[in-house]
């Protein structure tokens, strides 16, 4: 059987042109998803372009094995939040639907529409359609309306959508892309870029064959993972991923009160058993994954109910004890409201908690906040401020610019309380509890994302694309990510990848995105740093142990990490590495930086 071909759907919103492009060669070199996204950004976005202009692109990236273990869609664009390389993951069913529609290299949206539109894709048929009637609707409302419309039109209710909410339309810099109501590609303002293109939603339905080269081998591999992954399934199906929060509070690895404390009694209110027994509805999973770690909740009782949503470490961690929210009773409402507005819960929680601390310290007054009493844990005040941010009203107009731009605009000594790196809020994690977390947060070229997003291994998960929550289990069952990845890729595409190829692919993806960020002004030694608070203020955990980061040790460890990523000690790739990986086209552009 021959190896697979890859098709990319290219949509130019300015000229309203849609075409199908064969990108098989690029996909072999960059795999897809995040790595291919970095290459596209390098090629298509001019240096120092404004992310909200028509020069930016939006790439809905998928890879060769999307839909076989989770169906991750990795969205790439230059980030309006950090002005560097932007990328964000979401799971669900969207990527798989794209595979079935025949666009197994994803969708590339370029240009900018002058009126709101949505993209309709059913197999070979792709159209740009008017979306005036969807303007102002939340992500979920948009999807419900489109489902009804398209069912009436095509007698098919199985369309899958991505959409943006009011925040994305109003170009709030940390707006998210919403899919199926609780899958969000939230980080780094991907929804903002979609909003700037006036692209309200994308609807996809596919009925074509995914045409894997050796389906039996793919199926064998899936079954092996399924059988052996039972233990992982049991734990995560029960609680979903809020389970990590409770553990993290005890390990001092979860932020409390905008990172001022190491323990507070409020932490004990966030016990997943409470959520499970009182509010859990059922389990839900992404395509091709057998865990079902999505655990939607619903609360009925007024005044806050009825409300429904899903709590994970990502969207709840930044609020919870970090904003001194008193337990799941309030948290369940708050996260649902953030989703309604279409904001990145993790990032906007950093903005709000920063304001809360400034308010507590008297740097910001109630007048500055347009009359909002932003005390710790005041749900009503938080919601009022969120609304202002999402609709860019009053103080919200400044805060909507995120932590790269807002602190400078507000001034008054508030800057040092902004827990950020490269403009991304550090919210869920408390770096003082674990130096590994601290490094993983800091040493990425894409902003302070949680979960070690900068490591080449994670880049591979986002490029193939598959769910990286499985990585520990995959290592246990198959030995390493590489062993499993090579098997899956060869079976799905009919390639003959070796371990050597894998290592190159891994480094190529990670280095490519680093090169893009460097071109846009990222200086690793300066930017891969955490706020001073983590090196200067001690925190104490529940049992009286005091913790703080040591700056020298941190810098030493960072150097080691750079070396492990194949980089020079200053975090910049060497010319040799770039040539070795086939990225020599970056050398002339980065010449000045590489020489130093």
């Amino acid at each position: 059987m021959g190896s697979k071909t890859f098709q990319l759907l290219e949509v130019d919103l300015t000229t309203q042109k849609i075409q199908r492009v064969d990108v098989t060669e690029d996909m072999r070199k960059f795999l897809g998803g995040r790595s291919f996204g970095a290459k596209i950004l390098w090629d298509r976005v001019p240096a120092n372009a404004d992310p909200l202009s028509r020069e930016n692109v939006l790439y809905m990236g998928i890879g060769p094995i999307t839909g076989l273990l989770g169906s991750v869609t990795n969205i790439s664009a230059k980030s309006p939040l950090t002005m560097l390389r932007g990328q964000s993951n979401m799971n669900g069913h969207f990527g798989n639907e794209l595979i079935y529609a025949g666009y197994n290299a994803g969708i590339l949206v370029t240009g900018q529409s002058h009126a709101p539109v949505y993209l309709y894709i059913k197999d070979d048929q792709a159209e740009i359609r008017d979306a005036a009637h969807l303007t102002g609707k939340s992500g979920l409302e948009t999807q419900q309306m489109l489902t009804k419309e398209l069912k009436a039109e095509t007698d098919d209710q199985n369309f899958r959508f991505v959409s943006i909410g009011p925040a994305g339309e109003n170009l709030v810099r940390n707006a998210d892309v919403c899919h199926d109501f609780y899958h969000h590609a939230a980080r780094l303002g991907m929804g903002t870029v979609m909003g700037s293109k006036k692209l309200k939603a994308i609807a996809v339905r596919g009925t074509q064959s995914p045409a894997y080269a050796y389906p039996d081998k793919v199926f064998e591999s899936i079954k092996k993972l399924l059988h052996a992954g039972r233990l992982y399934i049991a734990e995560n199906r029960r609680w979903g991923h809020t389970v990590s929060m409770a553990r993290r509070y005890y390990n001092t690895t979860e932020g409390i009160k905008n990172k001022q404390l190491g323990w507070d009694a409020i932490c004990d209110l966030f016990n997943p058993v409470h959520l499970e027994q009182q509010y859990k509805l059922w389990g839900d999973s992404c395509h091709g994954c057998f865990v079902g770690c999505k655990v939607p909740y619903m609360r009925r009782e007024p005044p806050l109910g009825p409300c429904a949503g899903e709590l994970r470490h990502d969207n709840a961690g930044g609020w919870s004890a970090n904003a001194m929210i008193a337990g799941y009773e309030l948290q369940t409402y708050l996260c649902a409201y953030v989703d309604y507005l279409g904001l990145d819960s993790e990032d906007v929680s950093g903005v709000v908690t920063w304001m809360m601390e400034c308010y507590e310290k008297g740097l910001i007054t109630q007048e500055d906040l347009d009359g909002i009493d932003l005390a710790w844990g005041n749900l009503e005040a938080i919601c009022a401020l969120l609304k202002k941010i999402a609709y860019r009203e009053g103080i919200g107009n400044i805060l909507a610019d995120g932590l790269k731009f807002a602190p400078g605009k507000i001034g008054k000594g508030t800057e040092k309380y902004a827990m950020t790196g490269k403009g991304v809020a550090i919210t869920s994690y408390e770096p003082r509890g674990s130096s590994k977390d601290a490094l993983n947060l800091a040493a990425t070229s894409v902003g302070e994302l949680h979960g070690g997003r900068g490591s080449p291994e994670r880049v591979m998960y986002d490029s193939m694309t598959s769910c990286s929550f499985w990585r520990r289990t995959i290592r246990e069952i198959f030995g390493s990510t590489a062993d499993w990845g090579i098997t899956m890729l060869n079976a799905a595409c009919g390639w003959n990848l070796t371990m050597e190829d894998w290592k190159k692919l891994e480094l190529r993806g990670a280095t490519m995105e680093r090169c893009f960020s460097i071109r846009e002004g990222y200086v690793p030694q300066r930017d891969d740093m955490l706020p001073d608070r983590f090196f200067e203020e001690r925190i104490t955990n529940k049992y009286g142990e005091s913790k703080v980061l040591n700056r020298e040790e941190f810098l030493e460890e960072r150097k080691k990490l750079y070396r492990a990523y194949g980089l020079r000690d200053d975090g910049i790739p060497s010319t040799d590495l770039l040539e070795d990986l086939g990225l020599e086209f970056t050398i002339p552009v980065l010449q000045l930086i590489l020489k130093n």
Partner: protein, 221 residues
């Protein structure tokens, strides 16, 4: 050390990792006579493993559209998946067989094999589609590009052996292979209706929003 602990956990779940066929052992015993695959919508997590297993068993490919079982995913407004598969109806309720224009019907209940069967060669395909229209759940499927004949569940029967692959692979035991125990009128319904029934669990949540807006709770400011 780590492996030992894992084994203990497996055992408490009633699964034996050493046994390759252990997967699915915790399910109901397979029936000898008439049987059908019953769906537990509340347990379905929508992973699509059954679709992959079904298309592999019947066509040797991974292709959702060729699967006899299908997962429908709804937003009610919380995402919920429900399954849709042939329930091997009793004779009086077997609308597909009665609707078939061919004589004898192309789609029929095989009295020897005790399951639905399709005479593929004589089927008129998707353009006819009368069996699908007659079935309250629109079960018979067609995939005109490759397989333009009615596809219904055959319980994965080969040489008298029935081993439904979807039941065996389902990670949440949301599918069971069992003898009909009571009237199937609630299993023969369209997935849309299944989702509508499940949506009642979410009362009083509205369909298009998952919250009451802050203004409704605290008053506008």
């Amino acid at each position: 050390m780590k492996k030992k602990r894992q084994r203990a956990a497996y055992t408490t779940h009633g699964i034996f990792p050493g046994n390759k066929d252990g997967w699915g052992k915790e399910k109901l015993p397979y029936p000898e006579g008439v049987g059908y695959i019953t769906t537990r919508w509340d347990l379905c997590i929508g992973c699509g493993a059954c679709e992959i297993a079904c298309s592999m068993a019947h066509h040797g490919v991974i292709h959702r559209e060729l699967s006899r079982i299908r997962i429908y995913r709804y937003l009610i407004p919380v995402p919920k998946s429900v399954q849709s598969i042939c329930t091997q109806c009793a004779q009086k309720e077997r609308a597909c067989q009665k609707a078939c224009p061919q004589d004898p019907p192309v789609i029929y209940f095989d009295d020897v094999l005790l399951r639905m069967a399709v005479d593929e060669g004589r089927c008129l395909g998707a353009d006819c589609g009368l069996c699908r229209d007659a079935c309250p759940a629109e079960i018979p499927r067609f995939y005109p590009p490759e397989h333009d004949f009615a596809m219904v569940c055959d319980l994965c029967e080969t040489d008298g052996q029935r081993r439904p692959r979807c039941v065996e692979i389902c990670p949440t035991q949301a599918l069971e292979f069992m003898a009909p125990k009571f009237p199937q009128h609630l299993e023969r319904i369209h997935p849309d209706e299944k989702a509508a029934l499940l949506a009642k669990r979410l009362y009083p949540l509205p369909q298009d929003r998952t919250i009451r807006l802050p203004d409704e709770i605290w008053g506008g400011k």
